[in-house]
Symmetry: C2
């Protein structure tokens, strides 16, 4: 019997991370919700899970700083954890209620109470202002929690949450795509343990055959993530470090910086880059890492993957 892939993510169940895990790994994977991003990385480091999937960036809100702070890893807790893939999840909000509480055409005015995460109110302002004006609102800790509460409620309440959570909690979708801005996308990173043999030859080592059929007809973009800290007493060191990427033909696709967690006003830089010539990344990355050692205090290859 084939061994099921174990994937860990930030819960609760029916969260956006849960949805990303299902979209990326399929229904057959064993899904392990955890209470924090740190717990998902620990599970991979300890080989309790094969993969973790965590959000790193949202198209509207920018970097997920908690994720970068974990990847900075000042205490080497996650020394073997590497990025091996990425997944883009489009965030759609829906109005959900218990089945048969409301009948078509839906009379939104008879909703007695609305539940969702505070951020979602702002993202659905037009719809709420037009159709659900003045209805009592209750903040909860996540949109999936809102769906959970409504599924157990005895009132005519409704939740703003994903279609995915509707499926999970057996709720009816009264209206979908109620968000103001349709292109709110969260990018997730997929992580594995670089020492794990189970995932070494696993599906992610051959992305062409793994849930990304569209890639088989187009060149695969390979991305690399490298973190480094420059010495504070060396002016120009940051520019020197970035120049090294250029000299090996790697284009910078993004830069993030976070406090080093070691010294005030020292930063860990996260450079994501992509080779100008397909297929020549591995050698370039090795050379870049070698040369970065001379201009940085610490540097680390956080992974190379296809997306």
């Amino acid at each position: 019997m084939e061994r099921r892939i174990k994937v860990t993510f930030l819960g609760p169940v029916a969260s956006f991370s849960h949805q990303a895990a299902v979209e990326f790994f399929g229904e057959s994977a064993e899904l392990l919700p955890r209470i924090s991003f740190a717990h998902t990385l620990s599970a991979v480091q300890q080989n309790e899970a094969d993969y973790a999937i965590i959000p790193c960036e949202n198209s509207t809100n920018g970097a997920v700083v908690q994720t970068f702070d974990l990847l900075a890893d000042p205490n080497n807790f996650y020394r073997d954890v590497k990025v091996c893939g990425a997944h883009y999840l489009t965030v759609h909000h829906c109005l959900l209620a218990r089945r048969s509480v409301f009948t078509r055409p839906y009379d939104y005015g008879s909703v007695t109470k609305l539940y969702t995460h505070p951020q979602a109110w702002g993202q659905c302002e037009s719809f709420l202002g037009a159709d659900l004006k003045g209805i009592e609102r209750q903040d909860v800790s996540s949109t999936s929690k809102a769906a959970d509460i409504v599924s157990k409620d005895t009132e005519r309440s409704a939740a703003i949450a994903s279609r995915f959570s509707a499926g999970h909690y057996g709720l009816e979708v009264l209206k979908e795509h109620i968000e103001d801005k349709g292109d709110n996308i969260t990018r997730f990173l997929v992580l594995r343990n670089s020492g794990s043999e189970c995932t070494e030859s696993g599906p992610l080592s051959d992305p062409i055959n793994f849930r990304t059929p569209e890639l088989s007809t187009s060149p695969v973009a390979r991305k690399t993530l490298i973190s480094f800290t420059v010495r504070q007493d060396t002016p120009g060191a940051l520019a020197d470090a970035l120049l090294i990427f250029k000299s090996y033909g790697m284009n910078l696709t993004s830069i993030n910086s976070r406090p080093s967690q070691k010294k005030n006003w020292q930063y860990v830089f996260f450079v994501e880059c992509q080779g100008a010539t397909l297929g020549e990344d591995d050698k370039a990355v090795a050379e870049i890492l070698y040369r970065l050692q001379s201009v940085t205090e610490k540097c680390r290859h956080l992974g190379t993957w296809s997306e």
Copy 2:
């Protein structure tokens, strides 16, 4: 009679921004609290205030992204607002109560309830765990709000807030420096309207004489902040842009990136830099801005100041 300087900041009164404004501009300035960072920038753009002071970075938590999103200014709302100074505020927490409710030696065990901002509980864990274990905690929206509540309470309650807010609300400092980590520093930017004649020849144009006496005996470090967006279809453009800074002898002291608020996965980069040779920045900055135009979609000089 001399005209009083008007300074705007994010309220409520007795907030950390208020404290930064008093520390930087002194008690004689007219201080104007506003309900959001955006309102403080608007006040400067509209010449309703001479200066705004807003936090841009914390030594532990990193960049204040709301501030960078305003400086990105995708709709040109704040086209004349420029950085003209910086101030570093050390965040110290104190245990505060109404005067004479507790008498020395303080019996912390008789405190009935504690109020503060959720973030402050975590920052004072050692003290709270040792001396105030098990006492009821109430989250409030800011540490200054906590001081406000305690000042009006009739119970034996206490707030965790700054010494500055104790002064404002007439509270007694039962214990100071109760934070676990003593070097939690927030950096503020001081902003002015570049078209304003009142501030052109004001104290900030001559930092040596303005509340920074220690600078008169040491060389003044001049920093420059420039924002730019690169074209998404031009690989290598980010490295090319950064190279320009280097070629004019400007060292990068920090880089931040935020979503452009125009297109998904396009970023505004914020480069802070400092000249290798004192006093030659102005010419270098002008040349850098000229050359950036050819490799960026948009670029903007956000200010040059002494710190």
